[in-house]
């Protein structure tokens, strides 16, 4: 179909090139690490226990995040209320916070010394026990529910407004709307959303330790860390990274198998008009969901703001310099991310129906980057860059590239379905008009891709802003990014300044996210 965007083979070649680049950046470092190993102890019972716990927490985190995202996204899609735009923007926030900041924010609400425990104390009840599997899953839901909600919300917004109008005029009952319009959309969107949350939770490590309550809650990433810094067993580190990567691959394969192709009955491409769910009961249910998700989001964020407000005015110069460096890195990451994601999205679509497996693999490669261990990627790149002289020279560009690659799963989740929808709806029309190549991209795709492009670029920018990433492995005193400076302030006992830096990070990342996301929505035709 999309041979019309570019001649088919060019689209496929572009996608293949982008996918190969991603593969080189994820599998390459792994091979480099394995290549430096001399003999390995192999995996022990502790590693298998870590594998089991990793699977358990990642599955629960994915299922719960997605299950909660559906009612929240439906509520947001059919309600308009003051503060809705702010809430939707804030949904990008938890995701971008450095772990330690998010954990302290969550503890201010759910901790033994948190709001809820204090409230329970007023009634003579014992404090909440957040530490354990429940805490790990809660934190991952806090991180990922907003992301899942935004992905599902996009699905709702993509249902042509005429369909709801038609349903209303045909006197559809709620259950009919759900069956005919909503469920097919969910089958298309949910597997992808669940898979992304699963893969993110797969590599989680510091959150799991902080809230897991002890070594019962150990993940594969921790085992990798131990193999590297405790045993200096590079073979084992690589082996564990392969294991983690394989789990991610299974999840992606499951997603591709479960996902329904977009039915995509064409509409007239008009903005959504609210036709459905306007009765009192639906309003009440929606209000409850929005309040619940809002509280889960806003209370911990509020705690972070409250802690940081005292320190933010007195930020020392090194923190501000680091903030500028982080901004540059995250813009670089967006550029890298988009220049890989767009070719993959078009390439996968061009391969599309004729070679569904190849298309699936292309998309999977882009998505899998995040399942690669951050430690092993950093380590491998370090080994690979060593022959080029001082690796320090490459710290910031490498960080931008790695962050760009790590943001691919989110870019692809937003772009792939959007490209498919556009082609299904307008492909034939564009064909008959003879729109091909750049003209087709400009007149057909870009105007309709603005919203997902803006959203995903915003996510990529914000994500890169908060990521400690590879910088932590090899940075000198002069090239620290904002998250690294934040950790350094804490390591120097300066918790108040660190809280200020955390707030600065939150504000900057949200501003970036808002700019891109808003930029994508202003004047967007759909």
């Amino acid at each position: 179909m999309a041979e019309h965007i570019f001649p088919m083979n060019r689209a496929v070649a572009g996608g293949a090139l982008a996918a190969a680049t991603v593969l080189a950046l994820t599998v390459g470092p792994l091979v480099a690490v394995a290549g430096r190993a001399d003999g390995s102890a192999g995996l022990g019972p502790a590693d298998w226990a870590a594998l089991r716990f990793t699977l358990l927490q990642a599955t629960l985190s994915a299922l719960l995040s997605v299950a909660l995202a559906v009612p929240v996204a439906r509520a947001l899609s059919r309600r308009r209320f003051p503060g809705r735009a702010v809430l939707v923007t804030l949904m990008g926030a938890p995701f971008i916070l450095p772990v330690i900041v998010a954990v302290l924010g969550l503890l201010a609400v759910f901790g033994r010394n948190g709001l809820i425990s204090h409230a329970l104390g007023l009634f003579g009840l014992p404090p909440v026990n957040i530490y354990g599997l429940q805490g790990v899953v809660l934190a991952h839901v806090f991180f990922n529910l907003p992301l899942a909600t935004r992905l599902v919300l996009q699905g709702w917004q993509a249902i042509p407004s005429e369909h709801f109008r038609l349903a209303a005029s045909l006197g559809f009952h709620k259950s009919d709307i759900a069956r005919v319009l909503e469920r097919p959309m969910l089958k298309q969107v949910l597997p992808g959303a669940a898979m992304v949350v699963f893969v993110i939770s797969l590599t989680s490590f510091a959150v799991v330790l902080a809230l897991g309550g002890g070594p019962r809650a150990s993940t594969i990433e921790l085992a990798i860390y131990q193999a590297f810094r405790f045993d200096f067993d590079l073979g084992k580190a690589a082996l564990l990274a392969v294991l983690q990567f394989s789990l991610g691959a299974v999840a992606v394969a499951a997603m591709l198998a479960l996902r329904m192709p977009d039915a995509g009955t064409p509409g007239h491409d008009r903005p959504l008009v609210l036709w459905h769910g306007q009765d009192g009961a639906a309003r009440l249910v929606d209000a409850l969901w929005i309040m619940l998700a809002g509280a889960l989001l806003v209370l911990p964020l509020g705690a972070i703001v409250a802690r940081g407000i005292g320190g933010i005015a007195t930020m020392p110069a090194p923190v501000l310099a680091a903030a500028l460096r982080s901004l540059a890195v995250s813009l670089g990451a967006v550029l890298v991310g988009l220049s890989l994601a767009l070719p993959i999205a078009f390439g996968a679509h061009a391969l599309g129906r004729r070679h569904p497996v190849a298309a699936g693999i292309m998309e999977a490669v882009g998505t899998l980057a995040i399942a690669a261990s951050a430690l092993v990627i950093g380590l491998g790149l370090f080994i690979m860059l060593q022959p080029l002289g001082d690796p320090l020279r490459w710290v910031l560009p490498v960080t931008a590239v790695v962050n760009g690659v790590m943001s691919l799963p989110f870019l692809l989740r937003a772009l792939v379905p959007a490209v498919a929808r556009i082609e299904t709806r307008f492909g034939r029309l564009a064909d008959s008009l003879g729109l091909v190549g750049w003209q087709r991209l400009r007149h057909l795709h870009l105007p309709r891709l603005r919203r997902p492009l803006g959203f995903s670029a915003g996510l990529a920018a914000a994500l890169s802003m908060g990521d400690l990433g590879v910088v932590a492995l090899f940075a000198d005193g002069h090239q620290a990014t904002l998250p690294l400076q934040l950790y350094r302030l804490m390591a120097a006992y300066r918790m108040e300044q660190a809280a200020g830096a955390a707030l600065l990070l939150l504000v900057l990342a949200l501003a970036l996210f808002w700019l891109f996301d808003r930029g994508g929505r202003i004047g967007a035709e759909t």
Partner: protein, 331 residues
């Protein structure tokens, strides 16, 4: 729109590469990240040494002590490092085995509670691990592990697999209790709120009120007294004794700046370096500075028994203590 971004990126690359072009000899010192941060000893030390060496002192940070050693092992004999600063006694045996370090011929009058005569690794600071608490929340701190186990206090500790203090606690328990260590851990685990990745998380959670005590150093309260005029934080003195952390530096055998490296190690034991340690690294200096220690250090807990495994013992005990801890704590 796109051009400013490209200029920005080009500028960054240029800035990163431009810094290399200098005529003075460069002394590359690998250290852990918090040493070289703007709030650690790094900037003070760099300025003072550059004043006397006619060289460019370049600190390269790499995570913590263990990550530092791992990085050095990765680079092997090609390492650009001239000096490595920031290993501790639990890493010394593995570091020595790499054969990458050279003896220095420096002797000093160390102010350490243990005797030190290692021809290769020179201590520059040290401290005692301890449980730190808040006086306003804990009226009667425990005075031994047994009292802690019998109390109803909660503690937050660090994971020995990812944190130096975490490993310190493991060796502390092992050095006091030997074969009884698993039994002690079974008791301690009832008080453990959680086991964090590193000191930063643990200390942050303690300050947020998530636990009554946190595994840190006897010198931690000095920070709160000096920088925040807050004397509510204190370390619990244990009759069992306190395990020590001794941080060391050594010159790298493959360095082409061995004279400068030696000069740096001597400088490391001089007043200019040592007097910066108490209030930037918040540890005890290895050689007492002529000006003495800041007043707040006088009020700190002084353990009666200093515990420390020799490097070979520490390496042997490490794996045993870890597997004991894991099997008890994973239940």
């Amino acid at each position: 729109m796109r051009q400013p971004i490209l200029i920005l990126i080009a500028g960054l690359v240029a800035a990163a590469t431009g810094a290399m072009a200098q005529d003075r000899p460069v002394l590359t010192v690998y250290t852990y990240d918090s040493f070289t941060s703007d709030w650690g000893p790094g900037p003070v030390v760099e300025k003072a040494f550059e004043k006397q060496c006619g060289c460019d002192l370049k600190f390269v940070g790499a995570g913590d002590g263990a990550a530092l050693l791992a990085r050095l092992r990765l680079e092997g004999r090609n390492t650009p490092a001239d000096v490595v600063l920031g290993l501790d006694t639990s890493l010394v045996a593995s570091a020595r085995e790499t054969g990458l370090f050279a003896p220095n011929g420096i002797t000093a009058d160390f102010d350490l509670p243990v005797t030190w005569d290692d021809p290769v690794f020179l201590p520059y600071d040290w401290g005692y691990f301890a449980f730190v608490y808040d006086r306003t929340r804990v009226a009667h701190p425990p005075e031994s592990f047994a009292e802690l186990i019998a109390s109803d206090l909660s503690i937050v500790i660090e994971d020995p697999r990812s944190s130096t203090p975490g490993l310190g606690l493991l060796l502390w328990v092992k050095s006091v209790f030997g074969d009884r260590a698993p039994e002690i851990w079974a008791g301690l685990n009832r008080h453990v709120v959680t086991v964090t990745k590193g000191w930063t998380e643990a200390y942050g959670m303690f300050l947020a009120g998530e636990a009554d005590m946190v595994l840190s150093y006897t010198t931690s309260p000095a920070y709160h007294m000096i920088a925040e005029q807050d004397d509510t934080k204190a370390a619990a003195a244990f009759r069992d004794g306190h395990y020590m952390q001794v941080e060391v530096a050594a010159r790298v055998a493959t360095s082409d700046q061995s004279a400068l490296a030696e000069q740096f190690l001597r400088f490391m034991l001089s007043d200019a370096f040592q007097s910066a340690i108490p209030t930037t690294n918040w540890m005890y200096p290895a050689v007492k500075p002529s000006g003495g220690l800041p007043e707040a250090f006088d009020s700190l807990v002084k353990p009666t028994r200093a515990l420390l495994y020799s490097p070979p013992e520490a390496r042997r005990m490490r794996d045993q203590a870890l597997s004991e801890w894991l099997s008890i704590s994973s239940r």
